[in-house]
Symmetry: C2
Subunit: 325 residues, 2 copies
DNA sequence: TAAAAATGTGTAATCGGTTACACATCAGGA
DNA sequence: TCCTGATGTGTAACCGATTACACATTTTTA
């Protein structure tokens, strides 16, 4: 591999000049420029990023910390981040935290050792992030700190779900609430409640983790004891799909006997039968926005908004009835 | 951030000694060791990976090049790779190639500029990989070169699918073959054919990309013209699920009127209704094995097998009939 | 036309590690 | 007792870039 010194020698200039040419800062005369370009071509020179990073203390790497890429919400997010990174000359390091503070800490450490240019973190991270001067953007789940963040307007979205179920004639609704730890889960609950309050609807609230099997089991049990339930709000699509499975097992017709609305808009919801009506987060847009915000920060450009909220969108599919709309 | 020099000074030894201590090579006396440990603790010293990489020309980064993380096959693969990497002190750089040779080339270049320790590549990559001395493992799709590889035994798997359809009484089968470019697609076809040949079964072969919507459309049209088809083999789960959707739209009962078998074993197949019978690749194991093989190579350990094949497994769910088994 | 500003370039230190090599000390075997 | 090999340590070059600073030349400006 040719180095900048080889190029300099061949072009009969100093390394400083080559470096200036490469980074397009400082002055470089026309003649030198030509010579350098020629030398670079002939030597097939590619600048060494590691050396550059060591010197400038800033790499072209972006760290992406998410709970688990296998969770269907995250691939699209990761993809969006990667796309934007790619377009801006950055590369993405993928970190699965499993929401484990130890792993989070480990990755934060590793990433800073790698001099990453910035970090996007979509995980609860209990105030772990603080010490560093690396640009960070919080995604989807805002930690308590006041990091720049990109989130979905959960309350608004859940309200849409609530209104839809009400309009479609649900009278007794089971809410599969998400884990207490997640702020988003509480927001969704409160948004939903706001939509249905005063509508004379009977509500049941069950807390369920965002795992299909568990949600299925909980719903199955609950529906067995409360057969008159005719509407379910899953605080995540995964729970909603679990609920859908439970209805199927119980022989309850969806949407005729029970209507279901999820939240998230993961691809999966489009492939179930019946396909899932849901409040779709604009996942790609979330990732895109976060990456954009991060790169802005990295490059020291001005940031208009530090906290960006993206409105989700109701996607009416087959687990709710159409006749009312 | 403290450097190795700070540690050396504080421990009253030379940087060489500290470095030896850090890397556990060369001799370090007991006294020096104690002093160094103390200094490291007091200074909160963390070695700078970038400097280390520059010096040794080898980082702790592993590049993972896949077509698209959004494709449901890859998150689990990526997760497996990341898990193994994590356990061995490596970190994963995620690259989506979209099967685009330009992007592949770009990433290969970037990764080598980053001095990645190794690369796992799951993409067609037309002989692009060759020049380098970076350890590489081909995953899932073997390029023509003789890179170490980890693949699913596609022929065997497709044969299982064929046998199952035959045993379950299918007489006229539609094969949704994958893209010509993919070797695996041809292997699956040939495996399937081997299983059904001589069984007096009528076959139709349609080429379909691994995209649900397209597969759905193609199947819909084909079934409209060939209503007597009673079995479908999707060369990927995604196509099979598309086919399932098409059957649903046509009012064909699955598995009573048409039976469907997919290939891949993506999570999605478990959540459709009816859930998809499929030949499941051991996706996690594929990723695990590839990562393991790569790290072995990186660390210069001996490699028994350069080409590892993993047998897939029939997962009988609800798109095939049980009574025959 | 002289001073000031802009342009062009090179030298050498620096980023933070690794490691070849030289050298010192010490134990054990002949 | 002398030699040999193991043990322990430091000096300084090196990995491949960036960049502050000094200096030379050319162009503007007054």
């Amino acid at each position: 591999m040719a180095t900048i010194h080889d190029v300099a020698k061949r072009a009969n200039v100093s390394v400083a000049t080559v470096s200036r040419y490469l980074n397009q800062n400082g002055y470089v005369g026309e003649k030198s420029k030509q010579a350098i370009e020629r030398a670079i071509r002939e030597l097939n020179f590619v600048p060494n990023k590691v050396a550059r990073t060591l010197s400038t203390k800033k790499s072209n790497l972006i760290g992406l910390i998410i709970p688990d890429i296998v969770n269907p919400f995250f691939p699209e997010l990761a993809r969006a981040v990667e796309d934007i990174a790619y377009r801006n000359g950055y590369t993405v390091i993928l970190c699965n935290s499993d929401e484990d503070p130890e792993k989070e800490k480990h990755y934060l450490k590793v990433l800073s050792q790698e001099y990453v240019a910035g970090i996007i973190i979509a995980t609860t991270c209990e105030g772990i992030v603080q010490d560093t001067d690396i640009p960070i953007v919080a995604l989807d789940r805002v930690p308590k700190t006041d990091l720049p963040s990109v989130t979905t307007n959960n309350k608004y979205g859940a309200e849409l779900a609530g209104r839809l179920l009400v309009e479609c004639g649900a009278n007794e609704i089971l809410i599969l609430k998400g884990p207490k730890l997640l702020a988003s889960s509480e927001e969704r609950l409160s948004g939903f409640l706001r939509a249905v309050e005063g509508k004379n609807i009977q509500l049941h609230i069950v807390e369920s983790p965002y795992e299909m099997r568990v949600a299925e089991k909980l719903t199955y049990e609950f529906l067995t004891n409360h057969p008159s339930i005719d509407g379910i709000f899953g605080s995540s699509d995964v729970s909603a799909i679990g609920a859908l499975k439970a209805c199927e097992r119980l022989g309850k017709k969806v949407p005729q006997e029970i209507q279901i609305v999820g939240f998230d808009g993961i691809q999966l919801g489009d492939y179930t039968s019946p396909s899932l009506t849901t409040v779709a987060q604009k996942i790609y847009q979330l990732g895109e926005t976060a990456a954009d915000l991060l790169i802005r920060q990295i490059e020291g450009r001005t940031i208009e908004e530090r906290h960006i909220e993206i409105k989700p969108e109701l996607v009416v599919r087959e687990t709710t009835r159409k006749e009312f709309l």
